[in-house]
């Protein structure tokens, strides 16, 4: 019997989870190879080495860059099961409203491939990526060490002198710049015209503020992965950091009393998706479409829900979760019992409820989406100046 070539999926460890790969292989009956890399490395591979992957599982930002670089093939909507239900365009679902509106380049505005090759939110028969997991992020803080009133949680805390020396930020430029822009705006340091699409002058002023704070020892460090979040809290005495959901769960599994803030200014939203390599053809292309449709089956979404992450087709995810899990993770209700993560560690106490409320409420509270702003290249270079600036 001929040995089948595995379907190569490129992404980060956040979604390329071994448990998901094994189940996909079992359900789909063809081999699948996951290649988890750091987010920046994924972007470089996606843009510069199109032959090195079959399916790209990454941020909407990466799909947009790879689309311009010509390394992706358009996804036929007629080959995606119930594509209209998935996107929720016909019934103007909260998901579609959220991803196609908002400031900056909301990811829905870069979803459909137009006849001239550009991307927009106007529906056509082709997608640049098929949306999957998404979330509304902010920062997390140790409730036992931060004397805080939850109603007053604000992005401004990131730059506040109250927590000087005990704050961490993400190292990723396109995410980090938006988070600190929200913080600077909350403190009244800089007023931005559009936090999702900063101008050169605004970027310069913001980075100047950051470098000044860094030299005064304001930041304890920067992190680039869930492992690094845990490390920075454990080793550098951090009590407040921008964070994503896996980081919250990983810290809670290590007994940190972390609260995921619901900032009064709103959340930073993000959307991931699956995209097809332009080099795909034949049987491998068919396998790729089957993998995409499998992702909408509900089961992968149930795994992601236990990390606190939402997935498209929540109707199918609900069927794969216990009622108590659905009530906590999606409906925003208090947990009726202790809830566990995917490896069986308790992560939610009975009676605890998710900060920010239900899926729909949290979606509606997104103030800015992860974007590729016009000055994306300039932001990346300037952010590196901040990363390299020495603490004094």
């Amino acid at each position: 019997m001929r040995k089948q070539t595995p379907l190569r999926v490129l992404g980060t460890p956040d979604t390329l989870i071994e448990q998901i790969r094994l189940r996909a292989e079992q359900d789909l009956q063809f081999p699948i190879a996951f290649e988890p890399l750091d987010g920046i490395d994924v972007q470089q591979r996606a843009v510069m080495e199109p032959g090195s992957f079959d399916v790209l599982d990454h941020w909407s930002v990466t799909a947009e860059l790879a689309w311009t670089a010509g390394t992706l093939a358009p996804i036929r909507t007629d080959r995606i099961d119930d594509c209209d239900v998935l996107l929720g365009i016909s019934d103007n679902s909260p998901f579609w409203q959220a991803i196609s509106n908002g400031k900056g380049t909301a990811p829905g505005r870069k979803l459909f491939v137009q006849p001239d090759g550009t991307l927009s939110k106007d529906p056509t028969g082709f997608l640049s990526m098929m949306p999957t997991v998404h979330n509304m992020d902010s920062f997390g803080y140790c409730v036992d060490q931060v004397d805080a009133v939850p109603e007053q949680e604000s992005w401004g805390w990131l730059l506040s002198n109250r927590f000087r020396g005990r704050i961490a930020l993400t190292a990723h430029p396109s995410i980090g710049i938006v988070e600190v822009a929200l913080a600077a705006q909350a403190l009244g340091l800089i007023k931005f015209n559009d936090v999702g699409n900063l101008t050169v002058d605004e970027i310069d002023r913001l980075v100047e503020v950051l470098i000044d704070l860094k030299r005064r020892g304001h930041f304890a460090g920067l992190w680039a992965s869930t492992d690094e979040i845990v490390q920075i809290f454990e080793e550098r005495n951090v009590i407040l950091s921008t964070i994503w959901s896996q980081g919250i769960m990983a810290l809670r599994a290590r007994k940190f009393e972390i609260r995921n803030a619901n900032p009064r200014e709103g959340y930073r939203g993000w959307l991931d998706g699956l995209a097809l390599s332009a080099a795909l053809e034949g049987e491998q292309l068919d396998h790729a479409y089957r993998f995409l449709n499998w992702w909408q089956s509900g089961w992968p979404g149930s795994v992601m829900a236990r990390y606190g992450i939402y997935t498209t087709r929540p109707d199918k995810v609900e069927k794969q979760l216990a009622p108590a899990e659905w009530a906590y993770w999606y409906a925003g209700k208090p947990a009726s019992e202790v809830l566990f993560d995917n490896s069986g560690s308790p992560i939610v106490r009975a009676g605890q409820s998710r900060n920010g409320g239900s899926y729909e409420t949290r979606l509606g509270a997104v103030v800015v989406w992860n974007t590729v702003m016009n000055e994306h290249n300039y932001v990346t270079r300037k952010w590196n100046e901040f990363v390299l600036a020495l603490n004094q």
């Binding site: 920046i40 510069m48 311009t68 670089a69 010509g70 050169v200 000055e375 994306h376 290249n377 990346t380």
Partner: protein
């Protein structure tokens, strides 16, 4: 130029002209036989020039039917009327008129000799940040005087490639989306005005030739070379505007060439640039000119430059993943 004529004794020739004269001399004297394959790189190495003037020289010789394109990389010696089999020779074994080249170089302004290379080096790094140019190190790296360095930098200043900051340092970059928008805006204003002025003087025959070239490019979209694309861009943005008599306007247009940098760096590091939309837009403009509708042609030119702005910004975003390439020591990262 007649056979065996001494070459390189004209006053202040450009490097393009020097390269063209030397190649013509080698063809006329039979040192490069009909069918010989001519490729930019080895010729540039042999002449000690960058590729740009050699590329332009080969285009010049193609127009004079001394060389022609073929189904491969580079050009073949000869007019192309005979179906010649390509002859691949090691160009280093050809006897080149070294003394003439040297004599010619001496007559060139010294800044001409380093201009193209310095321009290439600077434009290759500006998408990656802001750089200060050290006059001393630039002079040392080319063994030229401070006067020559300053003349070179002043010429680059007039092309809009370098600037002086408030401390009088020479600086270049960063190339931002904002800069792209501003430059395209200026180009749309200037080029539309120039096209309006030039339209009555453009011959139908020339325009039809351009249109046929565009049609062929659309048919062969997958195999277009960088040289062919540059030629197509030159047809509209340089040749159609060349009859202009207002030299001041022409000079201003020449100062807006910085934008080409993005496409070059994108092609060097990321991917081949997609040209289908550009070809479509060029054809629309040329067809309006052929049909004697200059107002529509100018409006279409503005629309083309507007779309090109967005394409350039999208490509500039992708450069965020490219690591800073190697660059000469006279370019210092500057914040």
């Amino acid at each position: 130029m007649p056979a065996n004529a001494p070459i390189g004794f004209q006053e202040r020739k450009s490097r393009k002209q020097t390269a063209a004269d030397i190649l013509s001399y080698l063809v006329d004297t039979g040192k490069l036989k009909p069918g010989t394959v001519l490729v930019e790189g080895p010729i540039a190495d042999r002449l000690g020039m960058s590729r740009m003037p050699v590329r332009e020289a080969l285009k010049l010789l193609e127009e004079k039917k001394a060389v022609h394109r073929f189904d491969g990389r580079g050009y073949l010696v000869g007019s192309g009327r005979k179906n010649l089999a390509p002859i691949r020779v090691d160009l280093r074994n050809i006897e080149w008129p070294d003394s003439a080249v040297q004599a010619d170089s001496v007559r060139l302004p010294a800044s001409d000799q380093i201009m193209a290379e310095v321009q290439d080096a600077i434009t290759a790094v500006i998408p990656f940040g802001c750089y200060r140019i050290s006059e001393t190190e630039l002079g040392m790296s080319y063994h030229v005087s401070r006067t020559v360095v300053r003349e070179t930098l002043h010429r680059l200043f007039h092309l809009g490639i370098v600037e002086k900051d408030r401390w009088s340092h020479w600086i270049a970059g960063p190339l931002t989306a904002q800069k792209c928008v501003e430059q395209y805006h200026i180009r749309a204003i200037l080029e539309a005005e120039a096209l309006q002025l030039c339209a009555p003087t453009l011959s139908r025959a020339t325009l039809r030739k351009i249109d046929i070239k565009l049609e062929k490019a659309q048919e062969n979209i997958g195999s277009l070379t960088a040289g062919q694309i540059a030629d197509i861009e030159d047809d509209l943005h340089i040749r159609c505007l060349s009859p202009i008599e207002n030299r001041s306007l022409d000079n201003l247009i020449q100062r807006c060439q910085l934008l080409l940098v993005v496409h070059r760096v994108f092609a060097d590091h990321v991917s081949t640039v997609q040209h289908a939309q550009m070809l479509l837009e060029h054809r629309t403009i040329i067809k309006h000119l052929i049909d004697n509708r200059p107002d529509d042609a100018c409006a279409a030119l503005k629309a083309h430059l507007h779309k090109a702005t967005q394409r350039t910004i999208e490509r500039l975003k992708v450069l965020s993943v490219v690591r800073l390439p190697d660059h000469p020591g006279y370019l210092k990262p500057f914040h």
